[in-house]
Structures are given as structure tokens and as C-alpha cells.
């Protein structure tokens, strides 16, 4: 029996890989993943900021270093003067311009001594937006270290009456006690720290795109089985055993697609660790197989199944966390295999959920198969 199964498996594989179309289809996913990872190596951001900082100013140099070397979600374009920065906004080359005062250090010191917050930067925007509101927060946090130091220095001299302390002494004491590092740490539900996975928001949707592609590979396998059925390939298999035959042929199809899914995740840079990825992928594969077969049995004809594809794709792109994470329609999400897979990478709860959903789908398919064979 295992020998026969292997021969059937090998024959199915040979048949699939014989045609260059299937091979091309398999190659496209890793190509897309690797290409986007390659392209995401450059500087980019959710908003482009034209930055003008005066030359030779200590505060400006510190702020510039903080903004330009800090990574983050904004993209900065340093400008030679304020007018150039403003023009970049006017011509649409930048979303906003941050034009710092020429006497930035002096202004901050005066304000810090008075302990007042007043504008030291002109922020020029074409139109207000959420990303620019976040940008202004980033701007404030870039100025704040210099400002808080100036407040400390002013406080020591004015409030503590230590006017004789030099800048050097103040700086030395400050640096000796300076607190650095982040107070927050992003963790996944399984406790894995967020920084263990290093990828940008440009790469982030790739796992979702690949999961949707994988689901459609399952649906394509079901379509393939239907066409084979029409051509009489499974004519010798009784109707009651067709379900297992469709699972076998679909599994062959999905095995190749699963290998490509894992490889593509690795190439895309969104891969976590082997054990977790393989387990999630195996359960996802089983779930997709059961899902596609249930849909096949409900639709009955290749034409009808084909017509389901576009609404299903729309539902997957909208409800699964591929590009956006909608908080509504949980009931709809529960029906879609990619939703479980995308959540299961860092949360074993969804892995169990996906396994339970797979069992439900298999039982529903078996019941439908029984009903359909009784009718015919």
C-alpha cells in the first residue's frame, strides 16, 4: 500500500512538473519575494521630509544625527537652505519641510532657562495627514534631548545658584549619569521579542501575499481535479472514494507550493524559525486542502468554482492581515485559512484553531460527499 501510494504520488508529481507553466507559476513567488526584499534595502518612509538644519550649530548637528541615523518610518532629504526645503514641499518632492532656526542652540538655551516651549522649527506641510502628525512627534522627540539638557544646565546654574560651573563640568556630570536605551519592548504573543525579526514594512505584507497565493494553489488543485474528473481520469474510482483521491492529488500540488512558500518567506526576509514555520505550513496546507475541496464540492463545476475566486480574493485581502488589520467581521475571518496561518506564526492558539477548523472542513466535506453519492 505505501509503495502504491508513492508510485501515485510520483506520477502526479511528474505530470505536474512536466509542463513549464506549473514550474513558471512556482518560480514567480520566490522571484517576487526576493525582488521586493532586494528593493527594500534603500531609504524610504511613510512620509518624505525636506530637512534644513543650520551648519555649525551644536544642537543642529545632534538633531541631524538623531534623525538621519535613527532609521524609523520617515525619509529625510537634507537641504542646503530653508527656501529649497520649502520649494520641495511646494513642488511635491517632499510631504513636509522642517526648517530649523539659524540660531537654534541659542534659542533652545534661552527657552530652557525660561522653561518655556516656543517654536524653534518651521514645519511646512501641503496638507495635514496622520503620517505628518506622527512626524511632528518624531521632530519633538529629536529636539527634546537637547532641550532637556539645556533645562538641566539652566536649572543647576539659576535655581541651585551654581553659576560658576562650566559647560564642560555640566556635560561631564550629565554624561556620567545619562540613561540610555528603550523602556519598551515589542513582544509577540508567544513571548518572542519583536527585534528578533528584522524586516521593513515594505517586506511585511509578503507573508500575507504568499499565504493568499498558497490558498489559491489549493483552489487551483481542486479545479485541476474537477477537470480530470470531467476527462474521466478518476472514472474507475467510486464516488464514495473520490474525496480521498482529491485530497491525494491536491496534496501533491500543495506539497510543491508549500516548499515554495517556505523558500519565499526565507527569501522575503520574514522567516522566523524552521520548526515554527514548518509546523504552521503543514497545518496550513492541510487546512487549505480541506477548504479547497469543500468549495469544490459546493460549487460542483469548474466554471462556478472559477467565479468564486475573485470575491474570495477580495475577502482574503480585506479580512486577513495582509495589508491592513481590520478590527471587524471576526466571523468572516474565521472562515479563511490564511487568517489562521498569519496569526499562528507567533501564537500557538491559532495553530490549534486552524487544526480544529481543518477537522470541521474535512467532516463537512465527508458529509457532503455522502449526501452527493446517495443522490447520484
Amino acid at each position: 500500500m505505501p509503495g502504491q501510494m508513492f508510485i501515485r504520488f510520483a506520477l502526479f508529481q511528474k505530470r505536474l512538473l512536466k509542463g513549464y507553466g506549473f514550474f513558471l507559476m512556482l518560480c514567480l513567488a520566490p522571484l517576487l519575494a526576493a525582488g521586493i526584499r532586494q528593493l527594500s534595502g534603500e531609504a524610504f518612509g511613510i512620509a518624505t521630509i525636506a530637512l534644513y538644519l543650520p551648519q555649525g550649530d551644536d544642537a543642529a548637528a545632534e538633531i541631524s544625527e538623531r534623525l538621519l541615523d535613527g532609521g524609523g518610518v520617515l525619509h529625510y532629504l537634507p537641504c542646503g537652505d530653508g527656501e529649497t526645503a520649502r520649494r520641495m514641499v511646494e513642488t511635491g518632492k517632499a510631504d513636509a519641510a522642517w526648517i530649523f532656526s539659524e540660531d537654534l542652540s541659542e534659542q533652545i538655551e534661552i527657552l530652557a532657562r525660561k522653561r518655556r516651549v516656543r517654536p524653534v522649527v518651521t514645519v511646512v506641510e501641503r496638507k495635514d495627514s496622520v503620517s505628518l502628525i506622527l512626524g511632528r512627534e518624531i521632530l519633538s522627540s529629536a529636539i527634546y534631548p537637547f532641550f532637556s539638557y539645556a533645562v538641566y544646565a539652566g536649572y543647576v546654574r539659576d535655581e541651585l545658584g551654581l553659576m560658576e560651573m562650566t559647560d564642560g563640568e555640566l556635560r561631564r556630570v550629565y554624561d556620567s549619569v545619562a540613561v540610555e536605551g528603550n523602556l519598551f519592548q515589542m513582544v509577540y504573543p508567544d513571548g518572542t521579542p519583536g527585534e528578533t525579526e528584522d524586516f521593513t514594512y515594505v517586506q511585511a505584507p509578503l507573508r500575507g501575499i504568499l499565504a493568499v497565493w498558497f490558498t489559491f494553489a489549493g483552489l487551483a488543485a481542486a479545479l485541476c481535479f474537477m477537470r480530470d474528473e470531467e476527462h474521466g481520469v478518476y472514472g474507475r474510482i467510486p464516488l464514495t472514494k473520490r474525496l480521498s483521491a482529491s485530497y491525494l492529488s491536491g496534496a501533491v500540488f500543495l506539497l510543491d507550493a508549500a516548499a515554495v512558500l517556505l523558500l519565499s518567506c526565507r527569501l522575503a526576509g520574514v522567516f522566523s524559525d524552521w520548526k515554527r514555520e514548518v509546523v504552521s505550513c503543514v497545518v496550513f496546507g492541510a487546512c487549505v486542502l480541506a477548504f479547497a475541496n469543500l468549495l469544490r464540492m459546493l460549487c460542483r463545476t469548474p466554471g462556478r468554482l472559477g467565479m468564486v475566486f475573485l470575491p474570495l480574493l477580495a475577502a482574503m485581502l480585506a479580512l486577513c492581515p495582509v495589508f491592513l488589520n481590520l478590527q471587524y467581521l471576526r466571523a468572516g475571518k474565521l472562515l479563511l485559512p490564511p487568517w489562521y496561518y498569519l496569526q499562528s506564526i507567533h501564537n500557538v492558539h491559532y495553530l490549534y484553531g486552524m487544526a480544529v477548523y481543518t477537522v470541521i472542513l474535512v467532516l463537512a466535506s465527508a458529509a457532503l460527499q455522502w449526501l452527493q453519492s446517495r443522490r447520484s
Binding site: L28, P189, P311, P321
Partner: protein, 411 residues
């Protein structure tokens, strides 16, 4: 010629047979997209009306300083308009997070305040903002926590510096009082940090509003992926039939032309059935696009002809994919990965301004990018010659390639 016309008519009949089902599916897609748009608008309107992102706070919240900090954030900081911090138990937070009622869960470790007061900062506040891998939202949240960290650690440094100086001066008894004073001054300044910038809004732009950008992007995405919907058109396609038709005098280019025109009519039928509900929604002001506000469906009706070249381009591309991949199954999967991949690179999902320069250039050069530039220029009322050339060039390339593939198959 008569054979070619007969072949075209036969293809047209095939397309017509698929049209009723296709219209039904289009309506289903419209309902899905409409429900999604409505939910997104509801979410946005909720935020505008004061519905804030709820963040569950769990763990050791007993320290009075922490309570003061949370109260200050909720009462005085600018973030109060966006974020609501809700103290709750770990289990309640977990359940609410899984139900999607919380945007994130923050866990405050035991002894956090002592760790901050003594400058050790070895107890980190951990937060979970996504069930799956991090995306754009989580990365933005990371940026916000970086800002909060900077405010706290810089204030700490200033206070410890002042304390060290007082200790070195032998004025240890003043430390408590002076710490409170400096602390309050720094908190006041951190809370009014938005005053560092003087905002000047120019109030004009030559680009599209985000709503119109996504409106165009949504229609183009539908056209780009309509090959999935129309896959039934290619189910009966086989090499023997093409050879037979060729033997009857319809050469490969004419076969492709006949199939293309019939397929294009099918794509246009889909586009039309998508546009009808959109027109209705715009007319009844259910759907609002800032550039067309108060004008009903008239600007959209005027915009519709602009979509025709894009539809022609995508129809040619889909025909090529189905022809080149041999078999409808592979064709569907290639359509899907190419459609989503091209749509992503050309800014149909995230605005292309979010991407690196090279990716943006590639996205614009792709057929999906050419169609997007065409539609966007069409909305603005002026389509440059280069944009016309890009769309027509891609159309010619796909038709030529499809003819070439058919020619080699029927040789």
C-alpha cells in the same frame, strides 16, 4: 475574412454566455468592497468623533507615580485624543485583544517605577500589538514607544545629573525638593512638546486626495485581477482546436484578435457592472471623494472613458498569461501572483510614495503602473503623451507576445 468574422462571433457568443454569471459575481465583489469601505469609513469616522485606540494596561499598576503618569497622559498630553489607556487584568486583556477590542496590550513589570527612579531601566514595558508578524501598524507603534522612551530617559538623565551635582556639593538634604521641582518642570515641557514646531499648511496640492487615489486604485485592482473572474473563458482552450481553426483559414494573429476583442467585451462588461453601483453611491453621496464633493456622479461618468485603455491593457495582459502558461490552472495562479505583486509595486495597496525610489520607478514602469499613471492623469484632466505611449506600448507588447505564442503553438 469570413472565417475570421465567424471565429470572432463564436468567441463573442462564448463571452456572452459567461456574462450573466460574471455580473452576479461583480455584484458580490461590490457588496464585499462596499462593506469594507463602509467599515473603514466607520472606523475613521469613529476616530474623528473621539473613538480612541484602546490599549489594555496589565501588570503592576500599583505604583502611585505610574498612576500619576497614566493620568497625566490621559488628561494633559496630546496623545489623549488618539489613545485610551485601560487598566485591566491579564486575562481580560488577552480575551479583549483576541476579540479585536484592544489595539495593543501593554504589560507593566513589577518594580518598574523603582527601576526608573534609580536609573536602572532594566524592567521593560512589553507590548503586543499584533497576533501575527509585525506590519506597518506595529512599526508605527514602535516609533511611538521610541518617542516615549526618549522623553523619559532624557528627563531621567537631567534629574540624575542635578542630583549628582547636589550630592557632590554636599547639599544632599535638598535633593528631594529640587528633584520634585525639576521633575515637574520637565513634565510640563514634555507635555507641551508640540510647541517646538510652528506648523504652516500650504493648503494646496497637485496630487490626488487619498480617497481618490484609492478609488482609482480599487477599480484598477479589480481590472487587474478580473482574469480570475474570467478564467472560465479559457477553460475550453486547447492546442488542437487552435490548429483546427488555423487549418480553416484563421491564422494565429486573427485568432488572437478575435479572442481578444471578445475577452475585452467581457472585461468591459465586468467594469460596467462594477461602475453602476459606484455611480449610484456617488450620486447618493454614500461614497465621498473630496475632489468630486457635491457634484454627484457626473465627474465619475466623465472619468469612465479614461478607464477604457487601462481595461484594454489588462485584458491583453490576462490573455497573454493564459496563453503563455498552458492551462487555465497555471494561468490563474500566475494571474494571481502577478496581479497582486504588480498591484503592490504600483501602489494599489500602499501609496507608492511609501516605497524606495527604485521600487517606485519599477512600479511605474510595470503595466499596472502605466495604467495607474494613466488613470491618475485622467482624473486631473490631462494625460501626457508619454503616459499614452506607455499604455499603448504595453498593449501592443502583450498582443504581439500572445500572437507569437499562439503562432508557435499552431506551427
Amino acid at each position: 475574412m469570413r472565417q475570421t468574422a465567424a471565429y470572432f462571433l463564436a468567441q463573442l457568443k462564448r463571452a456572452a454566455r459567461l456574462l450573466p454569471g460574471q455580473i452576479l459575481v461583480d455584484l458580490a465583489v461590490c457588496v464585499c468592497a462596499g462593506a469594507l469601505a463602509w467599515l473603514l469609513i466607520a472606523q475613521g469616522a469613529g476616530a474623528a468623533a473621539g473613538t480612541r485606540y484602546r490599549i489594555g494596561m496589565v501588570g503592576d499598576l500599583s505604583a502611585s507615580y505610574l498612576g500619576f503618569g497614566i493620568a497625566a497622559l490621559q488628561e494633559m498630553d496630546d496623545s489623549r485624543f488618539m489613545v485610551e489607556l485601560v487598566p485591566m487584568s491579564e486575562q481580560e486583556a488577552e480575551e479583549a485583544f483576541q476579540r479585536g477590542e484592544l489595539y495593543a496590550v501593554m504589560r507593566v513589570p513589577e518594580g518598574l517605577m523603582e527601576s526608573i527612579v534609580y536609573g536602572e531601566n532594566d524592567r521593560l514595558i512589553t507590548y503586543t500589538a499584533a497576533q501575527g508578524q509585525q506590519g506597518l501598524g506595529t512599526m508605527v507603534m514602535g516609533e511611538i514607544t521610541d518617542i516615549a522612551s526618549t522623553l523619559v530617559t532624557c528627563s531621567q538623565s537631567a534629574i540624575y545629573g542635578m542630583q549628582r551635582i547636589l550630592a557632590d556639593q554636599g547639599r544632599g538634604e535638598e535633593i528631594g525638593w529640587e528633584t520634585d521641582k525639576l521633575n515637574l518642570a520637565l513634565i510640563q515641557m514634555a507635555l507641551s512638546r508640540s510647541g517646538f514646531g510652528e506648523v504652516e499648511i500650504l493648503g494646496y496640492g497637485d496630487g490626488l486626495s487619498l480617497e481618490l487615489y484609492y478609488f482609482c486604485g480599487g477599480i484598477l485592482l479589480f481590472l487587474l485581477l478580473s482574469g480570475l473572474l474570467n478564467s472560465a473563458f479559457f477553460v475550453q482552450d486547447n492546442r488542437a482546436f487552435s490548429c483546427f481553426v488555423k487549418a480553416r483559414g484563421v491564422s494565429a494573429p486573427w485568432q488572437i484578435l478575435g479572442e481578444y476583442l471578445a475577452y475585452l467585451l467581457l472585461v468591459l462588461g465586468g467594469l460596467f457592472s462594477l461602475c453602476l453601483p459606484l455611480m449610484f453611491a456617488l450620486e447618493k453621496a454614500v461614497l465621498a471623494v473630496p475632489e468630486w464633493e457635491g457634484m454627484g456622479a457626473a465627474p465619475f461618468v466623465a472619468f469612465l472613458p479614461v478607464l477604457l485603455p487601462a481595461a484594454a491593457l489588462f485584458a491583453a495582459m490576462q490573455l497573454f498569461f493564459f496563453e503563455a502558461t498552458e492551462g487555465v490552472v497555471n494561468g490563474i495562479l500566475v494571474q494571481l501572483i502577478c496581479g497582486i505583486g504588480m498591484g503592490y509595486l504600483s501602489g494599489y495597496f500602499y501609496p507608492s510614495a511609501f516605497f524606495p525610489e527604485k521600487m517606485r520607478v519599477l512600479g511605474e514602469a510595470l503595466p499596472s503602473g502605466a495604467a495607474a499613471r494613466f488613470a491618475q492623469a485622467g482624473v486631473m484632466g490631462k494625460i501626457p503623451g508619454a503616459v499614452w505611449a506607455a499604455v499603448l506600448g504595453w498593449l501592443a507588447v502583450f498582443l504581439g507576445l500572445t500572437m507569437l505564442v499562439r503562432w508557435s503553438r499552431t506551427r
